[in-house]
Symmetry: C2
Subunit: 330 residues, 2 copies
DNA sequence: CTGAAAGCGCTAACAC
DNA sequence: GTGTTAGCGCTTTCAG
């Protein structure tokens, strides 16, 4: 089948290509009968407008680029779903770009994105330098960052306030004299870790105390599990805070293996909740984070920025969370 | 910043646009000094070739579309990683399209894909009609399907032979007289389920037996858990086969709650292994499926099809798996 | 209401 | 080696 173009349709319908263009773009100046005539020709020929040519002519692609860290789909999956759902509404397509741990390919990706002339970019990445962001802004690519608050005029951001989250949560414990609280490090999410740690340090300070139990997982340990197995042989806390479900489970398992009973001897909470927390025994308490919404809101914000809906828009959007009490806390 | 084009670069470097084009495309007919001159101009102006215009001129976009079921990123994540990794090698970009359960939007997606003139499509979707596939082939879009064998001349496929997998595995049990084997239904993956069921039926037949224990989860149950909790009150098998980790865990938990000890009273295996199986207690045995490779091989196959590397290529690729014995089997 | 023609940015013959 | 020019398929003034 020959590639059929707007010219073919024009000839078939015996009109000019301008008219065909008007029809496919829903212009209302076309007389009804010629509209029908054209529509029929389109149908007959199976014509599909070439989005590339449209992109060239219109100087916009209706593509938006999404950058996420590779292999993190467990968490980003929902974000992506949210993103795509609202992208569909606004007829945007998503091009997916992943960054690989440790490899500084971000520049390559950005280069690529600029060349592909996407209309906008959504970035979910814990490690993104100011400089890289700058490159994008130079080329006037609207950007929304998921996960971190950005205080940049031109960049939008959608995020959860982890500092706030952990402060709120821990207060109750401190009020009840449970001051021995620990945070398990997650090397994969340094920024969030930082927020959690700083949050804890702040509350502790408010209470005239010092936060000390940041459980760092030494680099030589491939998984937290092996380290924690040792750790809990002679350590014990009132409450352990883990970020990911797998770490929470590691705490749970290693605690049990060391005869620490959760939640009686030690409580446990997982920040990034997942269905697996509900499958563990005892079930692990966690925070329901607005992952889907992070994506959906980010995309919505981006479309606003793209359409420049005149009203000044708030480009820093904080989303909230819900604590789900299960059996690992009292 | 004004959009700067190949004309600007040509003027800046005092050459024709053809020469600039040659430089950015690495043509070797350009004299070194003019190449340098052009390169400098490009640098100075911060010029980035417009992929859209290139796409129009070349009749190819170096984009490939990926269609996956929404919300399934837990499993497809690795597939996507594999896909993207090899896509990067061949300089292809990925546009991500998701299908929502129950909504027949596949046609919309296909329409969209055709308009965007991608060079090829990779589909990972358990429910895809022949007709939909046909539309794509009409428009000459090369396709690779992940997950199902396709016996279509023009369509490539990369898959795991689940029928074979389950037959192999179960034989040992039947040989040892453990004939009471059950398979837990997974409504989300009907095709794979079918393969597993048929595999079991085949082996049973080989042994002169009939496979009967297909545990169907009634529609009214939102999760397998609630159903299984009842189920195991008066049922018991030599071996239970679950497809996803969450179902395997549901079996594990509900069995325990009904005082069935795994693996002593009942063994358990999970087809689609995950790290969560290793976190369960007892740890659940499973099959390491080549998820990453499914994506990588699919993409590799697609590039072959695109480049028509003359040699006839095998378009049906079967990948293998590895059984990981843990504590839920004996 | 419809058509003619210029232009979007780039590639690829074909000249020179 | 390098420049000229005709497309690639579509949108959008500007005429009529």
């Amino acid at each position: 089948m020959k590639r059929i173009t707007i010219y073919d349709v024009a000839k078939e319908a015996d009109v000019s290509l301008a008219t065909v263009s008007r029809v496919i773009n829903g212009s209302d100046v076309v007389r009804e009968d010629t509209r029908v005539k054209v529509q029929e020709a389109i149908e007959r020929l199976g014509y599909k407008p070439n989005a590339i040519a449209q992109g060239l002519a219109l100087q916009k692609t209706t593509n938006i680029a999404l950058i996420v860290p590779e292999a993190s789909f467990f968490y980003t999956g929902q974000i992506i779903n949210g993103l795509i759902d609202v992208a569909k509404i606004y007829k945007y397509n998503i091009t997916l770009h992943t960054t690989t741990e440790g490899i500084t390919e971000m520049n390559e990706i950005i280069e690529n994105i600029i060349k592909s002339r996407v209309d906008g970019v959504v970035i979910f990445n814990d490690k993104l330098s100011q400089e890289e962001l700058h490159t994008l802004t130079i080329y006037h690519v609207p950007i929304v960052v998921i996960g971190n608050r950005m205080s940049d005029e031109t960049v939008g951001s959608v995020f959860v306030n982890y500092e706030h989250l952990v402060m709120q949560f821990v207060k109750e414990y401190l009020d009840n004299g449970k001051k021995n609280i620990a945070l398990v490090e997650d090397r994969k999410n340094p920024q969030i870790m930082k927020q959690l740690k700083e949050g804890l340090e702040k509350v502790y300070k408010e209470y005239g105390l010092t936060f000390e139990n940041f459980i760092q997982i030494p680099k030589e340990y491939r998984s937290s599990y092996m380290f924690l197995k040792n750790y809990f042989q002679d350590k014990k806390h009132d409450l352990v805070i883990a970020y990911r479900d797998s770490q929470a489970m590691a705490v749970l398992n290693t605690a049990h293996e060391n005869n620490l009973r959760v939640p009686d001897d030690m409580e446990l909470v997982c920040i990034l909740d997942s269905k697996y927390n509900a499958m563990a025994r005892p079930q692990i308490s966690g925070f329901k984070l607005p992952d889907y919404d992070l994506g959906a809101v980010a995309m919505r914000l981006l479309t606003k920025m793209l359409h420049q809906e005149d009203e000044v828009i708030d480009k820093e959007i904080e989303l909230s969370y819900i604590f789900t009490a299960r059996k690992s806390t009292k």
